[in-house]
């Protein structure tokens, strides 16, 4: 096991969460963007409600530019990517310069795309670099514990977003099983009561939708690193 501190484990966890947030919200945004072309101009209102973010956008066009690229919009994909980068840059020695470089490339693409008249064509590359990031992380992170914390963060974020975006129960169960495996591998204390409650709501109930907020709440309490 590599030697990492509480602060580093926190960085890894949030790195996993933010990279996943960029990935999944970008995917969801793309669907919303398509609907806004010729089905519903105001689909973004729905999108904000589902994600649980404030709708501070005055129109479709403002939503598109702000949600993708606005550094001052805490909900934007760009903000999430910068948070991911800020966590990654502190972990260069654990994740490797190569792995970090894929996030730098994603940041570069986001910054270049903001002036494009076809931004979705450009930001496709962000998804590509995120896939490369995960491949590189698998290859270059030597310590299993570090890898697991990073991916544990990814699973938590994915489950959180899946509940918000009403993903099918099968996908929830699949990701929850992956997360459980990882949790036991990480080898740190976790909130066992939360696991019990999550197991009941996700694996034993046919429909998780009545428990969405409870699931999000339990997920947020699962991994406590001690860093504020």
């Amino acid at each position: 096991m590599g030697v990492i501190s509480i602060k580093s484990s926190d960085n890894l966890f949030w790195l996993g969460r933010y990279v996943e947030r960029v990935f999944t919200t970008l995917k969801a945004f793309t669907e919303c963007y398509d609907i806004m072309i010729d089905i519903n101009d105001e689909e973004y209102i729905n999108f904000c409600r589902r994600l649980g973010i404030a709708n501070n956008y005055s129109c479709r066009q403002e939503f598109i530019s702000s949600f993708l690229f606005d550094a001052n919009d805490p909900a934007s994909i760009y903000s999430s990517l910068i948070h991911a980068y800020d966590n990654a840059v502190e972990m260069r020695n654990v994740i490797s310069s190569d792995t970090l470089s894929y996030l730098q490339l994603a940041v570069d693409i986001m910054e270049k795309s903001s002036s494009s008249n076809a931004p979705l064509l450009k930001v496709q590359e962000v998804t590509d670099w995120i896939f490369a990031f995960w491949g590189s992380a698998d290859d270059n992170i030597e310590a299993e514990a570090s890898r697991n914390i990073l991916k544990f963060g990814r699973s938590i974020e994915r489950l959180d977003l899946y509940t918000r975006l009403d993903y099918p129960i099968e996908l929830m169960r699949k990701e929850f099983s992956i997360m459980l495996n990882r949790l036991y591998k990480v080898g740190i204390d976790f909130n066992a009561h939360s696991i019990e409650r999550l197991t009941r709501m996700i694996l034993e109930e046919d429909d998780y939708s009545p428990y969405k907020f409870s699931i999000q709440n339990e997920l947020s309490q699962l991994f406590v690193t001690g860093v504020m």
């Binding site: 030697v3 501190s5 580093s8 260069r92 470089s101």
Partner: protein, 437 residues
């Protein structure tokens, strides 16, 4: 080499991709900047480097003995080689380090010696950086990318591989390690050299730590793991200035330091790399005395020359400086990073008058140097060959014996007429090739 130069833009793009940046604060706002790379290398022949290597080893040996001497016996002061006010009046002298001798007597584990080559092809030492010299990571990563860009260039030229700096640094840490892990200690993400801190942690295999990861118990330094375990730390490559390193010893308002780390150091339980108190040797006033130091401690003639320097502290030098101020460069001894440097030729008569008065009032505060006419180096700017002033920071790592890294950081000025090469002033950098034959 042209095969390499044609890929300059791509190499710079790759450097950006790898986050090769430095931070700078302007109006209290932190910004990260890319450090522009020019692919035309500085080339140093084997014979020339052999000469530099001998001189650098000699200089660093003497400086290391000096540091031990002034914090213990002070023989060089008693023998009146250096006036005591130059030691005790130096901003970098730390009274708190009196009597503290680091493991294996190594004070300066990593020394960054700044040199320039005059147009007479002679090398001059411009300053010594024994506190926390930075910059080795830039040519190291640049070389990696240059080799990818133009393998033929490196097949055709016998360039010594410089990518071993991480190994040299690890060896230096291992040599003084008192038992435990090696740690690279950074003050944090918003330090100007954060890229280098994290990159060197990666390349040395040391644990990368922030101050809150470390604590001292029973005069022993530990690293807290997330699992709750504690690892003993044997050597800390600290990239935090002395003032901020331990709030119990130095600045009480420091939030960057590790409380009681100096107690662990004084007890001989951890090596701090470089040793606290070293910055007295970086002082531009002390620099003047390095040739005398070499003769005094080693009984040898200095191999490398200082730039011709005058201390207004001495009446003869004062007279010379006042009479010739417009052809000299005046440096404030407490400043660094290209700040506090004034060229007499660029001053108005009014400013000359003011500066003369200031020098007379505070003679200890300034040194004056003859302007060295640099051997300018070629750079390619926007596809056009031109020339820039450049210096060379050579790195000497101390183990049982000093080792000179066979490369160095060549920095060049932003503008053709500027002598200031510091990255914080907008300059760029080059790789430094040392030829193996």
């Amino acid at each position: 080499m042209y095969g390499l130069i044609e890929h300059t833009d791509e190499i710079n793009r790759l450097l950006a991709r790898y986050g090769v940046k430095f931070g700078i604060y302007k109006n209290n706002v932190f910004n990260e900047r890319l450090f522009p790379f020019d692919a035309v290398p500085r080339i140093i022949s084997k014979d020339e480097f052999d000469y530099l290597e001998r001189g650098l080893k000699q200089r660093v040996k003497a400086l290391n003995i000096f540091l031990k001497d002034i914090y213990t016996k002070k023989q060089i002061i008693k023998d009146k080689i250096i006036p005591e006010e130059f030691v005790y009046g130096a901003a970098g002298y730390m009274m708190e380090c009196e009597g503290a001798v680091p493991p294996k007597d190594v004070f300066s584990h990593i020394s960054g010696i700044d040199l320039v080559q005059g147009n007479d092809m002679r090398w001059y030492v411009l300053e010594d950086n024994l506190r926390v010299p930075s910059g080795a990571s830039y040519p190291m990563i640049a070389r990696e990318l240059c080799r990818r860009a133009s393998p033929d260039t490196f097949r055709a030229n016998t360039v010594v591989d410089n990518r071993n700096y991480g190994d040299l640094l690890r060896n230096a840490l291992d040599y003084v390690n008192t038992g435990g892990i090696n740690v690279v200690l950074t003050p944090g993400r918003f330090n100007s050299a954060f890229f280098e801190h994290s990159y060197l942690a990666e390349k040395t295999g040391a644990v990368f730590a922030m101050p809150q990861d470390l604590f001292v118990e029973g005069n022993v330094l530990y690293y807290s793991e997330y699992s709750g375990k504690h690892q003993r730390v044997g050597a800390v490559y600290r990239r935090i200035n002395d003032d901020f390193m331990d709030p119990m010893t130095f600045r009480a308002d420091s939030l960057l330091g590790v409380p009681h780390i100096m107690d662990a150091y004084r007890a001989g339980n951890v090596a701090l790399v470089n040793a606290p108190g070293n910055s007295v040797a970086d002082d531009k006033g002390i620099y003047y005395y390095v040739p005398a130091m070499i003769k005094y401690y080693l009984g040898e003639e200095p191999i490398l020359s200082n730039a011709p320097t005058y201390l207004p502290f001495y009446p003869d030098d004062m007279k010379y400086v006042l009479d010739n101020i417009q052809k000299l460069v005046i440096k404030d001894v407490a400043e660094s990073g290209g700040y506090g440097v004034v060229f007499g030729s660029e001053l108005s008569l009014e400013r000359v008058y003011e500066l003369k008065k200031l020098i007379q009032k505070e003679p200890r505060r300034f040194i004056a140097q003859e302007v060295i006419h640099f051997n300018d180096l070629k750079v390619v700017e926007n596809g056009v060959w031109t020339e820039r002033k450049a210096d060379l920071r050579a790195f000497v790592l101390m183990g049982e014996e000093p080792v000179v890294w066979k490369s160095g950081l060549t920095r060049f000025s932003k503008d053709a007429n500027s002598f200031v090469v510091n990255s914080s002033q907008g300059g760029g950098f080059k790789d430094t090739w040392v030829l193996s034959r």
